[in-house]
Symmetry: none
Subunit: 497 residues, 2 copies
C-alpha cells in the first residue's frame, strides 16, 4: 500500500480485525443453528452478545470518525475510495446505536428466536408476542436512531442496512405495479395449468439419498466442497465465511423437491460468497453488494436456472438415479411439478409466481409496525385480510402458518423481506442481459453447459463485490438499473408462453 495513505491503511487494519472476529461470530452462529444442543443456548447467547458488544465497541471507537475524515482527504485510488465509502456506511450504521441497545437487542432476539422454535409448532401466539414485544421495541428504537442519523424514514433506515440505496418511494412504485398485475397473472396461470396433468412423485424418499442428490447437484452447480459444507438446520440458510461457506437445508421423507430446490437456492448464495474477490477479503469492499443482490444469485440458481426446462432435463435422470425411476420423474412432468402455481400459506414453500404476494404482505405489515402506525396485536387481522386479498387464502387462527412462520421477525430482521422480491427481479434482469449477449443461452443450458451462466455471474456480480453502488453495478452488468419489466416478462414467458 502507498505510504501516502497512512490513515486509510490504519482503517484497513481495523477492518481486517473486525473480519477476524466476525469469522468467529459467524461460525458460532452457524453452529447454534446446525449443531448446538438446547441447553447450550443461554451460554451461547451470552457469548454472542459479548462479541457483538466488542464489535460494536470497535466500530464505535471515537477516533474512527476523525480517521475516516482524514482518510477521505488522502490521495486514494478508485478502489480505495469505494472501500472507504463502505467503511463509512458501516461506521454510520454502528455509530447510530448505543452499546446498551445492541446488547439488549441481541439478548431479546436470541431469546425470542429460541422460544419461537417450540412456540411456532404449538400455535402459541400469546407466548410469542410476549417475547416479541422487547424485540419490536428495540427494533423501533434502532429505526428511530438510524433515521435521525441518515435522514431516511424509520423503515427505510432499517432496510438500508440490507439494501443500501433502496427507498420506500421506489419500493411502493415497484410493489404497487406488481400488485396490479399479479392477481390477474396468477388467475391466468392457474386456468392454464388446470388442464395440465401432473403426476405426483411417490415417496418415501430416504434422507441419505436426498442428501447425496443435493450434494451431487451442488457439485453440478459448482459449489466448492473444499471450502464449504452442507448441513441440516430448521431454517435453511447460507452462513459461515467466504473461505468456508456453511449451507444448511432440511429434509422430509415425504418430499424431496423442497430440500432439493432449497439447496439449489442456497447454492446460489454460496457461490456468490465463495467467489468474492479473495485478494480484498477482510475489507468492506469485498463484501457481497446487498441482500437483494445476494437473493438475485440464489434465485438465479433456483428459479432462472433450477426451473429452466433445459436444466430440469439434466436434473431428471439424477432424480431417477437417486430414488428409482418413476413416471413423475420424466423431464416434462418434473418441470410441471417445479412450475406449479398454487396460492398457499407459507412463503418459503411458495412458487415463483405467488411469492411476491407474500413479500408485499410482509412489507405492508412490517413497515407500519416499525413506523409505529400499528401494534403487534394488529398483525393477525391484517395478515388474514391481506392473505385473502392477495392470494385468496384463509389464514384465520393459523398462527403457525401465519405471522409466526418466518424467523425474520423473531430475529428483528425488519426491512429484509423486500430484498427477496427485488432479488427475483434482478435475477430476471441478469438472465435477460445474458440472453442478449448469448442468444443460444437456453440451448446451452439444455445441453448441460452451465458455464456461460457461471462466467457471466462471476464476471458481473461475484467478482465485483461492493466495488460499485447497486445502481452502478446493475448498469455495468445489464445496461440499466432495476427494471421490474424483466421479471414480468420472465413470468409470462415461462408460465403463459
Amino acid at each position: 500500500m502507498s505510504t501516502a495513505t497512512p490513515t486509510y491503511d490504519g482503517l484497513a487494519g481495523t477492518w481486517t480485525r473486525l473480519h477476524h472476529f466476525g469469522h468467529l461470530q459467524s461460525i458460532a452462529g452457524w453452529d447454534q443453528a446446525a449443531n448446538m444442543p438446547p441447553k447450550g443456548n443461554e451460554a451461547r447467547a451470552a457469548a454472542m452478545a459479548e462479541m457483538a458488544a466488542l464489535l460494536h465497541r470497535m466500530r464505535t471507537e471515537p477516533a474512527l470518525q476523525g480517521h475516516l475524515e482524514r482518510a477521505e482527504q488522502e490521495p486514494l485510488d478508485d478502489f480505495q475510495r469505494a472501500n472507504l465509502r463502505e467503511m463509512r456506511r458501516q461506521w454510520l450504521a454502528s455509530n447510530a446505536l448505543p452499546e446498551a441497545l445492541v446488547q439488549r437487542q441481541q439478548l431479546a432476539t436470541s431469546r425470542c428466536e429460541h422460544a419461537w422454535r417450540t412456540q411456532r409448532p404449538a400455535h402459541d401466539w400469546a407466548g410469542f408476542v410476549e417475547n416479541f414485544r422487547p424485540v419490536l421495541a428495540a427494533g423501533r428504537e434502532e429505526a428511530a436512531l438510524l433515521a435521525a442519523h441518515t435522514g431516511l424514514s424509520k423503515y427505510e433506515a432499517l432496510m438500508d442496512r440490507y439494501e443500501p440505496g433502496m427507498r420506500c418511494a421506489q419500493l411502493d412504485r415497484v410493489f404497487g405495479e406488481v400488485r396490479q398485475w399479479l392477481p390477474g397473472l396468477i388467475r391466468q396461470v392457474r386456468a392454464k395449468q388446470e388442464h395440465e396433468a401432473v403426476i405426483a412423485p411417490v415417496g418415501p424418499f430416504p434422507l441419505a439419498a436426498q442428501r447425496a442428490l443435493c450434494e451431487q447437484v451442488m457439485k453440478l452447480l459448482g459449489f466448492d466442497f473444499e471450502a464449504g459444507r452442507l448441513d441440516v438446520s430448521t431454517h435453511p440458510f447460507c452462513g459461515g465465511v467466504p473461505e468456508d461457506v456453511r449451507m444448511t437445508t432440511r429434509f422430509r421423507e415425504d418430499d424431496f423437491l423442497g430440500s432439493l430446490m432449497g439447496t439449489i437456492h442456497e447454492t446460489g448464495h454460496g457461490r456468490y460468497e465463495q467467489n468474492l474477490p479473495r485478494g480484498w477479503l477482510g475489507q468492506p469492499v469485498a463484501d457481497a453488494r446487498s441482500m437483494a443482490l445476494h437473493e438475485s444469485q440464489s434465485l438465479s440458481f433456483e428459479m432462472q436456472l433450477g426451473s429452466h426446462p433445459g436444466f430440469v432435463s439434466q436434473l431428471a435422470p439424477l432424480v431417477a438415479q437417486a430414488f428409482g425411476a418413476q413416471p413423475a420423474f420424466a423431464p416434462q412432468n418434473l418441470h410441471r411439478l417445479l412450475t406449479r402455481v398454487k396460492p398457499g400459506f407459507i412463503r418459503v414453500d411458495a412458487d415463483e409466481v405467488t411469492y411476491p404476494a407474500h413479500i408485499i404482505l410482509r412489507y405492508e405489515i412490517e413497515r407500519p409496525l416499525i413506523e409505529g402506525e400499528i401494534e403487534i396485536d394488529d398483525v393477525p387481522a391484517l395478515w388474514d385480510a391481506k392473505m385473502m386479498e392477495l392470494l385468496g387464502v384463509d389464514t384465520r387462527g393459523n398462527f403457525k402458518d401465519g405471522p409466526m412462520q418466518d424467523v425474520h421477525w423473531p430475529e428483528a430482521l425488519f426491512g429484509y423481506f423486500p430484498c427477496y422480491s427485488l432479488g427475483a427481479m434482478y435475477a430476471a434482469q441478469w438472465f435477460a442481459a445474458m440472453r442478449r449477449a448469448l442468444p443460444d443461452l437456453d440451448a446451452r443450458i439444455g445441453r448441460g453447459d452451465l458455464r456461460p451462466v457461471f462466467d457471466w455471474l462471476r464476471d458481473n456480480i461475484w467478482s465485483q463485490a461492493s466495488r460499485w453502488t447497486t445502481d452502478e453495478l446493475a448498469l455495468r452488468a445489464s445496461g440499466e438499473t432495476l427494471n421490474p419489466a424483466h421479471f414480468k416478462a420472465h413470468l409470462e414467458a415461462r408460465y403463459l408462453g
Copy 2:
C-alpha cells in the same frame, strides 16, 4: 454481591468477559477439528490468532495487577477468596512471560508440530531434533521465568500450570514407589493371563452401529445430550464449554473397542465439565480443578467403571445387539479383552497396568531435559534403556514408536505427562472411598445401578470445581491426600484377584 468488594466485583466482570470470548474460541476450535473443510484453515487460523491476541491483551492489562492487590485487601468470604486465588494463578501464568517469548514459542511449537506429523512416520529423528531444539530452548526459558516468579524448580513451575500444588519431591516418592512394584506386577499378571483363553472379536464393525453403540453407552453413563454432542475428529478430545460439551471420537471398521473405550474415557471428562457448578460459571473457581483431577474422571469412567466386571456384564449385551452375537462378546471374554496386559511401544494404546511405566519414563526424561541436566541428543539412549528396564521392550532405532510418538513434546507441553498417572491414582482413591461408604458398590454396579458412582463424583469432585486446592479436595472427598496405595490395591485386586 456485596458493595464492600468493588474491586473484586470488577475482576469478576473481567473474568466473565474472558469466559464469553473463550466460549467462541472453544467452539471454533472444536469446529476446526470436527467440521472445517481444508480451504477454511487459513482464515480460521487468522481468526483464532486474533482472538488469542485479544484474550492475551485482556489478561495482561496493566491495571489488573493493582486490582488483584486491592481485591486481596477487601472483606471477601471464603468462596470469593478461592476465586481470587485462581484469578491470581491465571494472571501469573499470563503475565510472567514477555510477549516476545510467547510469540517465539508459538512459532517454534507450531513449526515443530507441523513437521512432526510427517517426520514421525518417516522415523526422521535428526529432522525432528532440528525443529525441537528451539522448542526446548523456549521451554527452558519459560521454566526459568516461571520458576523465578513462583520460587519453584524449573520443572515444577511448568507442571504447576497443569497440576497446581504438585511438587517433584512428592512425584519422585510416588513414582519411585510404583517403579519398585510395577515390573514385578506386570510379570505376575502376564504369567496369570498366559493361561487364559481370549477370543478376538470378528469384524468388520459398521461405523453407524459403532456410533449408535457409543451414544447408547454415553447415555448409560449419564452424558446429557441436551448439553453436548458426540462427533468425529482425527484426534479424539473433549472440547466445547461446560454448558455445551463437544466430545469427539474416531471409528475404525476393524476395531470397535478402541473407539468405545475412548468414548467412555471422554465421557468422564464430559460429565465433569457438564456438572461444574452452573451458578459460578465464568469465574475461575468454577473451572475443573486440574489436569490430574480431570484425568481422574476420565479414568474413573474408562478404567474403574469401564473395565469393571460388573459394568462389562452390562455392556456385553449392548455390544452383541450392535454387531450381532459372537463368542467374543460373552461378558467374561469381553472383560478379558478389556483387561489384557501386554507391554508395548505406544503410550496411548497401553493397558491400565503398563501405562504408568510410559509416564514414569517420560517424567524421568523431560524433567532433567528442562532442568538442563541432559540434552535432546541424550534422549534416544535413555528412552531405549528405560523401555527395556520398565517394560522389557526393545525400542532401539524405532523413533516413530519411541520418543517421537507423542504430540506433547513438539507442542512444548512439558510437565503434562505426570497428570495421566496421577489421574489413575486419584481414580483408584475415589473408588476406594466409595467402597468404604457403600460396601455393596460392586454388586450395585453389577446390577447396572451406576447412580451411587455418579452421585459420589458429583458431590465430591464435579460440584467442587476449583473451590479447594487439590490436597484439600482429596482430603474432603476421601479423607486423605494422594495415596498411591489405592492404585496398587486396585491393580492387584483386578489383575491378580
